[in-house]
């Protein structure tokens, strides 16, 4: 197991190195950052000074090395727009996105898996058909449209819930969280619901397919022949047997929501990193873009590692193979 973790950490280092190269090429080497940094009416002399100051006269490999060295020292530079260290800037926005993503993915899983299992257990029942109909909706209707409908219905027409912002927050571990206050929760609800519909649909499908398949196996027949109740069979046998694909999708969805909650954050003016990155792209705030992309890559690596480790916890046969 230790060997496996070390192996994965080394893999992660290689992946991060490759990502840093791609990000460098994508953001630094394509286009000329000087045009953004200095005003168009600067003199030729000022222009050359600036080029030298930013190291842009150096060969490309040297520039890349400098870039990586700075990254390794945790120096992601300063935001051109906010004029503050990039890490601090992202750090101030990340909790908002984190709680939104966690609320959406966990809500979708906690609701989607039991309902999907029921739909797989009693596929002919009316409830199962209703669940499947909702999941088809969740798959096919675009997120931004649902977001607008939610705002229109619950915020504008009914006035039950706020249309945007984080609401009141409370401190935990030195970080501001919305989910800790009543008012914050009401703000969190609609954007989380909006983000979770698609994930809910996916979890329902996964759990339903897995349950249908598992219910036909000899494992379930044998448990029934031993007199175990249907509830025991579903909660102890089937749930464990279908857990691996569910955990996988949970991880992937958590990663992609952390990275790409942009649309929902924009619609609900949720001050997370998604909104920050869109702003930084439109204002060509390169240090922010770089740090964000590196961070997203890092999240994915971390989540994948966690998912892989949980495989071993969920399936002893995999544990044996890795030992």
């Amino acid at each position: 197991m230790i060997g496996f973790v070390i192996h994965r950490v080394m893999q992660a280092v290689v992946v991060m190195a490759v990502i840093s190269l791609l990000v460098f090429i994508g953001v630094y080497a394509i286009g000329n950052p000087i045009d953004v940094l200095i005003s168009p009416d600067a003199t030729q002399q000022m222009r050359e000074d600036a080029i030298r100051a930013y190291g842009l006269d150096q060969p490309l490999w040297k520039q890349y090395l400098d870039f990586v060295t700075r990254l390794l020292h945790g120096d992601f530079g300063r935001s051109f727009v906010y004029n503050m260290p990039v890490l601090e800037l992202i750090g101030s926005r990340l909790p908002a996105t984190t709680e939104l993503a966690l609320a959406a993915v966990m809500g979708a899983t906690l609701l989607g898996v039991p309902l999907g299992m029921y739909a797989g257990y009693r596929p002919e029942s009316g409830l199962a058909k209703a669940i499947m109909a909702i999941s088809i909706l969740g798959f096919s209707v675009p997120t931004f449209w649902i977001g607008l409908v939610l705002i229109f219905t619950f915020a504008v027409q009914l006035g039950w819930l706020p249309a945007g912002g984080r609401g009141d927050t409370a401190m935990l571990f030195g970080i501001e969280w919305s989910f800790l206050t009543r008012n914050g929760l009401t703000h969190l609800f609609l954007p989380a619901l909006n983000l979770s519909l698609f994930k809910f649909a996916m979890m329902v499908r996964l759990a339903r397919a897995g349950t249908r398949e598992t219910m036909l196996t000899d494992t379930v027949k044998f448990a029934r022949a031993a007199g175990e109740s249907e509830w025991t069979i579903l909660s102890r046998h089937v749930l464990r047997l279908i857990a691996i694909p569910i955990v996988t999708v949970f991880g992937l969805e958590l990663g992609s929501t952390l990275a790409f909650a942009v649309v929902t954050e924009t619609i609900f003016s949720w001050p997370g990193v998604g909104k920050l990155i869109i702003d930084s792209i439109s204002s060509l705030d390169r240090p922010v873009m770089v740090a964000y992309l590196m961070l997203v890559a890092f999240f994915f690596i971390l989540i994948n590692l966690a998912v892989d480790l949980s495989y071993a916890a969920l399936d002893p046969r995999l544990r044996a193979r890795r030992a």
Partner: protein, 325 residues
């Protein structure tokens, strides 16, 4: 004769398929005495497993028990509510399946699975459950049982896995175990071991068994009485020794002749001509008649199962009378 432990009468189990109802079990009657080992043989698809599942009330749609009765110690099981049936399964009748690597749950420890099987019928403490599970494992010949409780199925060999499944079936000391080809998936040497052990266990615990197999030789070595099934019906029954010595039904005779042990060295194995009929296209009358070397026009009507003493045969022209008598 003591009162039978299990009495199956005219059991009919049908599957509603797209091409119409499929009569997988069509009027099966037999009984099992306490502690008796009954062998149920027949070709693939003859309805052996469906008979076993019907007794336990484990027929899922599109299947259903279309008629007949199953009595356990006099109590009717057909039509019992699911909760009452569940209380009987595993406690008074249990079942072991063919492939132990498919029946045991690969992601739970053996101990966990055994505890679930105990908790299905009573509330027990963690420690008591472990002790009982370890004891059951010891009984089926698994060494170091207490430690093995924390192992997962993949850490056992095929034969050991089947022993675990048997231990689970024995956990609540049922009066009857239905064994659906439990040795078919195992090596021949392990097959023989398990057969011998099961026989001893059944004798020691006084457990009755229905031993299902397509292999006449296996069944004969464990059972004392034989039921031969063909196309959803019992076509011959009797004490094992008698049936083997003098089969009455041409199908049983064919099965016997095709056993490798009965072949002349160097000769091809004898085969029953033709193949198992589709249950959708059964001939009128005796289902075996198209393959039967002795078939006559009268075989176009369904023969009754005629019982005489311990023996019974469903044939218009049983062999004993014409051939050897």
């Amino acid at each position: 004769m003591t009162a039978p432990l299990l009495q199956v009468e005219n059991l009919a189990t049908h599957f509603m398929t797209r091409s119409g109802p499929l009569k997988a079990v069509d009027g099966v009657s037999f009984s099992v005495q306490p502690g008796e080992i009954v062998g149920l043989v027949g070709e693939s698809g003859s309805g052996k497993s469906v008979t076993g599942f019907s007794i336990l009330g484990l027929i899922d749609p599109p299947g259903r028990i279309a008629g007949g009765s199953v009595k356990l110690a006099g109590e009717e099981l057909v039509g019992l509510p699911p909760s009452a049936l569940r209380a009987i399964r595993g406690r008074r009748i249990s079942m072991v399946f063919q492939d132990p690597s498919a029946t045991l749950n690969p992601v739970l420890t053996i101990g966990h699975q055994m505890r679930l099987a105990i908790e299905a019928h009573e509330t027990v403490g963690e420690k008591a459950a472990r002790d009982r599970a370890a004891e059951a494992l010891l009984r089926v010949g698994i060494p170091d049982a207490a430690r093995r409780l924390d192992a997962h199925p993949h850490q056992f060999s095929g034969g050991m896995r089947q022993r675990v499944a048997i231990a689970i079936a024995l956990l609540n000391r049922p009066a009857l175990i239905i064994c659906d080809e439990p040795t078919t998936a195992l090596d021949v040497s392990i097959q023989a071991q398990i057969l011998t052990e099961m026989k001893a266990l059944a004798r020691d615990l006084g457990t009755a068994m229905i031993w299902i197999s397509h292999d006449l030789a296996t069944v004969s070595s464990i059972a004392s009485r034989l039921l031969v099934m063909y196309a959803g019906r019992i076509i011959e029954e009797g004490p094992v020794a008698d049936v083997l010595r003098a089969p009455h039904h041409p199908y049983t005779a064919g099965l016997l002749a095709s056993l490798p042990a009965n072949a002349e060295p160097g000769q091809d194995l004898v085969q029953i001509p033709g193949s198992t009929p589709s249950l959708f296209a059964l001939p009128p009358g005796c289902a075996f008649s198209p393959r039967c070397p002795h078939a006559r026009p009268q075989c176009g009507t369904m023969p009754d199962l005629v019982r005489e003493g311990a023996r019974g045969v469903r044939c218009h022209f049983p062999l004993e009378i014409r051939g050897r008598a």
